[in-house]
């Protein structure tokens, strides 16, 4: 009996070395209520779709961009589906981005065609993340699609392109961080929630 149990314990620890984990207790999880209220305002309802972002998904983002999501993000994540008047009206997802002073958490509102509707800093410990900067960056990103957003970025993804530099005059460093987050969010949404999005599109067509 002891041998069996010891084998099980050994098996567990070997497996653990290869399994992703979460540090924060789940009681600290918060829905992005403020972000939804700000970016979608009244008349909308939402439901959560939790999905697993896998290592393969992480690699798939790398096929589309010169960078990918952090390894710690290989885990369970929530995509919020927004509805208005019983019809699918958009998406919202919160994603984290590393800044030189720590984690920045950005909630992204996306239109049905996965263009950007707007964003909201859920956590940004720099005083630079103020309403004026948010408004300036939002103005440039609004309604841009994945390929349009990519044109603001240099080829290696580490800097703004000349177009990006001319578009983001205010807080270009923060704009670059936000832009990279937008691209990752759009990419991972299409990859990790592919089946759900296809189903939603079919449902919407059925209503029309």
């Amino acid at each position: 009996m002891k041998i069996i149990l010891n084998t099980l314990i050994l098996f567990m620890f070997i497996e653990l070395l290869y399994s992703p984990s979460v540090n924060a207790a789940f009681c600290s999880l918060r829905d992005p209520i403020s972000a939804i209220q700000t970016l979608y305002q009244n008349g909308y309802t939402f439901r959560s779709l939790v999905s697993t972002i896998s290592e393969q998904d992480r690699m798939a983002v790398k096929q589309q961009l010169p960078f990918t999501i952090h390894q710690s993000e290989v885990n369970r994540h929530t995509l919020y589906i927004l509805y208005k008047d019983e019809q699918h009206a958009g998406f919202l997802q919160a994603r984290s981005e590393w800044a030189k002073w720590g984690l920045v958490e950005i909630a992204w509102a996306m239109n049905i065609d996965r263009s950007i509707r707007g964003f909201y800093y859920q956590r940004c410990r720099s005083p630079q993340c103020n309403d004026n900067v948010v408004e300036n960056i939002n103005e440039v990103l609004k309604n841009k699609t994945f390929s349009q957003l990519k044109s603001f970025l240099s080829e290696n993804g580490n800097a703004l392109s000349p177009l990006g530099e001319s578009s983001f005059k205010v807080a270009p460093g923060l704009a670059l961080l936000t832009l990279r987050s937008a691209l990752k969010t759009l990419a991972i949404t299409d990859i990790s929630w592919k089946q759900d999005i296809e189903q939603l599109t079919a449902e919407n067509k059925g209503i029309e």
């Binding site: 149990l5 099980l8 314990i9 098996f11 567990m12 497996e15 653990l16 290869y18 399994s19 992703p20 984990s21 979460v22 540090n23 924060a24 207790a25 789940f26 009681c27 600290s28 999880l29 829905d31 209520i33 403020s34 939804i36 209220q37 700000t38 309802t45 939402f46 439901r47 959560s48 779709l49 939790v50 697993t52 952090h70 390894q71 710690s72 290989v74 885990n75 369970r76 929530t78 589906i81 509805y83 019983e86 590393w98 800044a99 030189k100 002073w101 720590g102 984690l103 800093y121 859920q122 956590r123 940004c124 410990r125 720099s126 005083p127 993340c129």
Partner: protein
């Protein structure tokens, strides 16, 4: 020997759970507890060394952390949080009333509640079950299972069974609760209760403020103690720094009390290592029926925590007094904790 047996049995149970459910919620059985579920096993062991009496005590913990969101049609209607933990004490001279002796093993509840969000999706929710008392800094800082604690000891209770209304609006976050007053177990001895609440500014901002209250009869062992408190808290985040302050005044068993808590915390830019310094000060009236004489005491704590992306969490904390009182004795204590979430 008992400790080895306990550890062995615990590890065996975890192994079996692990084999049944998969390595974690992220692998093969993602939806085992529901489509929107997340779950994790939480293991920790803590050593607490009292430098005054040279005693070392241990706390070993194994728990399940389950989170699920229920949706109906086009809306989320409820969030379920379920955290049963088995706690084993070893060689404790003093212990909470949850335990029968200093080597006891008990099933405890950290958080176990359903928050009904179906009324207005976040602005007005109703929570039922076991949850943290909404008061002060604890409202928006997660200290469950960590060496780092804030001001719970001022009130003598961290979480309780009951009902609350809570919500988030663009300008205010609030939670108002009516709870049993008995902590981990639902007991009606002495008819305890707590009416508590916190109303504050949005917690995603870099400057956060709140106003809290706490009134009721709290069950401690077999006796209830009347406690009343009014508090204010302020938090400010600046790059890698976090500064927090909570101050409260009130009464414990009719005696006036005043508490001040201050913390400065710094994190590395990858947020793996954090270190903090805390100061706590309290002034208590000795016996209001005899005189208005009071005594005061103060402590400081210094701590460090390393959190890896692989789920490991190693922390250490040292506590000592900076102001002595003839009534309350604060011994120098060193704590070390190893935690793993999978």
């Amino acid at each position: 020997m008992k400790l080895i047996t306990f550890t062995f049995k615990t590890a065996s149970i975890i192994s079996l759970l692990y084999l049944c459910f998969g390595a974690s919620a992220n692998t093969t059985n993602d939806d085992f507890f529901g489509a929107n579920s997340r779950w994790s096993l939480d293991l920790s062991t803590r050593a607490i060394h009292n430098l005054e009496n040279n005693n070392t005590a241990f706390v070993h913990v194994v728990g399940l952390d389950l989170h699920n969101v229920l949706s109906v049609g086009q809306r989320d209607v409820a969030t379920i949080t379920f955290q049963p933990y088995i706690v084993k004490l070893n060689n404790h001279k003093t212990y909470s009333s949850v335990f029968d002796h200093g080597n006891d093993t008990e099933l405890t509840w950290r958080i176990a509640n359903v928050n009904y969000t179906g009324f207005s999706q976040g602005q007005f929710n109703v929570r039922l079950g076991h949850f943290e008392i909404p008061f002060g800094l604890e409202y928006h800082v997660d200290t469950n299972g960590t060496l780092r604690q804030l001001t719970t000891s001022d009130r003598g209770i961290k979480a309780d069974w009951g009902l609350s209304v809570n919500g988030i609006t663009p300008i205010v976050e609030y939670e108002v609760a009516l709870t049993r007053g008995s902590g981990n177990s639902f007991k009606n001895t002495g008819d305890p209760y707590i009416f508590s609440g916190r109303i504050g500014t949005p917690t995603h901002k870099n400057l956060i403020g709140g106003f809290s209250w706490f009134t009721g009869d709290v069950l401690h062992g077999k006796e209830v103690v009347e406690r009343k408190k009014l508090g204010v808290d302020v938090s400010y985040y600046y790059y890698q720094w976090q500064f927090m302050m909570e101050s409260s005044v009130g009464e414990t068993a009719g005696n006036d009390t005043a508490n001040v808590f201050i913390e400065a915390l710094w994190k590395t830019n990858n947020e793996e290592i954090s270190s903090y310094l805390q100061f706590g000060y309290q002034r208590n009236e000795i016996n209001h029926q005899v005189s208005d004489e009071s005594h005061s005491t103060g402590y400081w704590k210094a701590g460090i925590q390393w959190v890896s992306h692989q789920g490991y969490d190693i922390s250490a904390q040292y506590k000592n007094k900076f102001k002595e009182s003839s009534i309350i004795d604060i011994d120098p204590v060193l704590g070390v904790q190893l935690r793993y979430r999978m």
